[in-house]
């Protein structure tokens, strides 16, 4: 998982897990489902988003470095 693609795949799986919790909580709104969606679901979704933006940011930073070297 050290490559950018690996990180993005991890972000995808985290997003899928978070979305599964949200869908479960609205289709069968029991206590456990709602509590998990509103706690663990938020954490997983936020982690996935953070991972995605981190990949984009490091890519942009790397691209800028390459641009400077070319100049």
């Amino acid at each position: 998982m050290r490559t950018q693609e690996g990180r993005l795949r991890l972000a995808c799986w985290l997003t899928i897990a978070a979305l599964a919790l949200f869908v479960w909580s609205v289709l069968d709104p029991g206590v456990v489902a709602v509590m998990l969606a509103m706690s663990l679901g938020q954490v997983l979704g936020t982690a996935a988003t953070a991972l995605f933006f981190w990949v984009v940011w490091t890519d942009l930073r790397r691209a800028r470095v390459i641009d400077r070297e070319r100049r």
Binding site: Q4, E5, L8, R9, A11, C12, W13, T15, I16, A18, L19, F22, V23, S25, V26, L27, D28, P29, G30, V31, V34, M35, A37, M38, G41, Q42, G45, A48, T49, F52, F53, V56, D59
Partner: protein, 219 residues
Amino acid sequence: MEKVSISTVKSIADLLVVATILFAVIAFAIMLWYLARRPPLTGVTKLVLLAGIFVFPLMSAMSGNVSGYDTTQKREFCGGCHVMIPWTADAEDPNSKSLASMHARNELFGDRNCYRCHEDYAMFGAVTTKATGMVHLLHYVKTYWSVPAEETFGRIHIYNPYPNHNCMHCHSTELDGFEELADHKGAIESIRSGKESCVSSGCHGPAHPFSKVTKEGAE
């Protein structure tokens, strides 16, 4: 709790359910596309992933959270912790004379009577109510998880005395008829200031009389 299918969309709550699923399905499709195809990380791929990892999940989470928040206001949710079942059962009992049950039979309270009476009526009331609810949950897990509900009578109590301003949210005390009752007239200032509780014994309380049994069994 009631399950919703797409063919039975009748209210905003149902619409939120459909929106949550719709946004989730779109995000799912993007995730599966990326995981299956493994396209090169070009700018376009990143934009598509932005929609799949951030935009659509955020929209799904927002509608899901509103729907979840709505669910947490229902009496059935409060009864999810087994120690609360006697309280919710009393509220649902059509023959109960308790203050809580009488309010549950009022259409304005209905199946949300726990929340309507115990929520904080203030600018950030929803937030503080839910934050306190999390403390309740922690307390439940730490202390009452394996305790039979009947053994909690006399042990479970709210953190602070029940505030009169929660009653006054509906019963303003300002109508002419209110002071016609001698007990109200004599104590009007202490009622409004909260010095004298509306739900104290001898007035309108206790709201949950069955739970006020002492250790010796006397009420």
